[in-house]
Symmetry: C2
Subunit: 482 residues, 2 copies
């Protein structure tokens, strides 16, 4: 039997913290004289109390560290249990959502997906809008900590490659995770503030700047406006694009940078490939728009830059409906959504380094074909890639496409048209936000989907954010045995 007490002890502490995060929205609603503050007060009270109680009840079992299986459970259960509490203010207060919608919105927030079932954002109380921003913001920092501290030990999808940057010993995982969370938090906070000031400087009102800065750095994509970033076309799109890129780079490199060492970030092959990819894609789409649609250069470049960084990072802000750009950009947007950012950032999807390792493995495979007795070791940054990393990454790819297929089929079975089903599964699994087509595309909304479809998407968002294996392993009998 797995001792669940240490797991629930930590989840209790995190839940209590979540409750405290409900106080700023309460304050905003109070300041604006909006009665909605009561929903946050009540939710904050209930959440903090439940969290503290859970932590206290499970305190007895707290041993010297966590076992590997406890780490798996902690990671998955955190993203399952916290959204239940996070949904409370959205049900008790505005917009008084039903259970399905509230859970969908909260999971979409905490997984930094950014798909929304809410309409009429322009008329929602400030507290509710801020709460959606906070959900993404803490989801973002949460996933960075998990990626740096937990996933390398969990050996999920090749993450053991980054083990040297994390930990080796289970016993120290919690204190060191706390330490890393602290250093990352300062950088995350500083970047968020910088983003907010930049938004303000270019004319965005303070409140919108605050929430958008949170959801930009979380690569989440919730907006305070129904028009999403379409309400802020112009120079603000450059700022957003820049910070979405910064949010997609490995945060460990920022710690090193702050410590005075610029070399690691400049030499990081993930960072280089990501920036190169952004440049290449923006170039292609800009040229395409100028050549095929006869569009103005600056306008083409700006819209390409903003929308590509938005999808590639998995943020999912939309400034225009790129469904109108023609079949090639639409297909390209679908594909780049399946690439994603760097690992150890708030960005989502498959991640750059997995493509780098897969391409290295395919290259070694092709080279070995006509020289069967040669030994071709795939390399990454000049270093040979370990067997287990290649196995993990390969399994991740195959499982990702199996999952995409499975979720697409289930959504189609629930009656969604093919484009909505496939792009809905992809956008949820890759934690992007918008899908394709008129229903859930950049100018659509997930509100019209059936409850069943929403729950399937909730599952896909969780599976995707937790890098597949961390969830699927819980469904094996062996995990629970012995």
């Amino acid at each position: 039997m797995i001792d669940l007490r240490p797991v629930f002890h930590v989840i209790g502490l995190l839940t209590a913290a979540l409750g405290l995060f409900m106080l700023p929205p309460m304050a905003f609603d109070l300041a604006e004289g909006d009665g909605n503050w009561r929903a946050f007060a009540l939710s904050a009270f209930a959440t903090t109390l439940a969290g503290v109680a859970l932590a206290l009840v499970c305190r007895a079992g707290r041993g010297p560290g966590l076992s590997l299986r406890q780490v798996f459970l902690l990671t998955s259960l955190t993203w399952i249990i916290l959204p239940v509490f996070g949904a409370l203010p959205l049900m008790i207060g505005a917009p008084h959502a039903g259970l399905t919608d509230a859970i969908f919105e909260t999971v979409s927030g905490m997984t930094t997906t950014g798909s929304t079932v809410f309409t009429g954002l322009d008329d929602l109380p400030a507290g509710t809008l801020l709460w959606r921003g906070i959900l993404q913001w803490i989801g973002g920092i949460g996933i960075i900590v998990v990626a740096i501290a937990f996933l390398p030990v969990m050996r999920v999808g090749g993450m053991q490659f980054f083990r040297s940057e994390g930990f080796d010993t289970m016993g120290k995982i919690l204190p060191r995770a706390a330490g890393i969370a602290l250093s990352i938090s300062w950088i995350y906070l500083a970047l968020t503030l910088a983003c907010m000031f930049a938004y303000e400087a270019l004319g965005m009102p303070f409140f919108d700047a605050l929430v958008h800065a949170m959801t930009t750095m979380a690569t989440g994509g919730f907006s305070t406006r129904d028009a999403s970033f379409g309400a802020y076309q112009g120079p603000l799109e450059y700022v957003a694009g820049l910070f979405m890129i910064l949010a997609s780079l490995p945060f460990v490199r920022y710690i090193q940078l702050v410590a005075g060492s610029a070399r690691p970030i400049l030499r990081d092959p993930q960072v280089r490939a990501y920036l190169g990819l952004v440049a290449g894609l923006v170039g292609v789409i800009t040229l395409y728009r100028m050549a095929v649609l006869g569009d103005h250069p600056e306008h083409s470049f700006r819209e390409a830059f903003f929308n590509i960084t938005s999808i590639l990072s998995g943020t999912g802000f939309a400034s225009v409906d790129y469904m109108n750009w023609g079949p090639f950009p639409v297909a390209l947007f679908f594909v780049i959504g399946l690439i994603g950012g760097c690992t150890g950032s708030t960005a989502c999807s498959v991640k750059i380094f997995r493509y780098q390792i897969a391409i290295a493995a395919i290259g070694a495979q092709i080279r070995s074909l006509h020289a069967p007795h040669g030994v071709f070791v795939p390399r990454y940054q000049g270093q040979p890639i370990g067997r287990d990393v290649i196995d993990s990454v390969s399994a991740f790819f195959v499982l990702f496409f199996f999952s995409l297929t499975g979720f697409s089929l289930i959504l189609a079975l629930l009656g969604l048209d093919t484009v909505t089903a496939v792009s809905g599964a992809a956008t949820a699994l890759a934690n992007i936000g918008p899908g394709l087509g008129p229903v859930i595309g950049p100018s659509g909304n997930f509100a019209t989907l059936s409850d069943a479809a929403k729950w399937v998407l909730v599952a896909a968002m969780l599976v995707g954010r937790l890098e597949l294996f961390a969830v699927y392993v819980l469904f094996t009998r062996r995990f629970w045995a012995g």
Copy 2:
């Protein structure tokens, strides 16, 4: 430098044989008093002459055997050079196609894809219709021989797993390939005749039965009728489904069966999985049609059985436009097209055994996650799967999805709408035949596509039929060096 002479010697012989295969269509047109016989006479003469000349010119270089690189070149060049000659009768005679259409139709034939750019099939001369059938029929036997004799030595996409059934020594590859081709040919011929007689017995006219039997056993899907198999709804669909299944099973097992050993085919995990998959899918779609569309049980079952075996085997006959069955069947048809039949058959796509190996590898990966010091070896039929097989299969999967993405993007860039681009790339790469949507769906036709799109699809059909790596390896510098 690679000595190309042995390669071209064999290709010359195969080309000469292709020329001889043009004589039956000539005879049919002569018998019907159709002047189109001259096109076949001329093409047969030119093709046989060119083939013999090539074989003679390159005879000098014929050594004791083929090197690995020569086997790669032989495989790829056969499917590139033979279609050029195979296209002659379609350009010189009816329907007097242009170069692009003639090459598209011939490559679609010889890769057993079955996508067609020809309309008005009902009015084409018998010789032309028979020639399309012959192209698929010899493409089918060709790919079985390649899969049994060449691919295991080429270690393409995990095919080395079947090495024990093939060869180990390069020196003997050609004589043994000829030997295998001979035994397989008898079985292939017998099954084709059986299929033809069954079609005839149930009322199909002799000529249609002959051509459809050829394209059924080749899992090719060319028809003599514009309505494809829609012209023969009813009991004939069961016969077609049965023979499409027989054509999708490993032909080596038939040799063993004829030799008196039924055990191998009954115990083959690929065969079991394939039959189980057919049963499951037919059951699901039958129930779906009865439940959701309120359809008659026998009608539901028959249409499900025919269309699922048609797509799963990569044949691509259409008896109805299943685009009208709703989003779930359409999405499912797309997915099962990416599964395919057993290796060593005429069936296409990724193939059952690769899914079995990938699932075993993912299972071992998941089991190892929470027990990092355990050793979990993926197994297939109880046997541990070799490292190189897992690497090959993983690389195949990833490369398949990369290729699918790449071809989809190129087609979208050429202006095809998203559904046509993605399903066109998939149906070409998996050698199925019909795509999805109104343009190239079951009731559509590839004629309306641009020439550029047709050439891209030609490339995709070749890459898919030759299992990706056999083609891609030719594009590496190292292949040509040293």
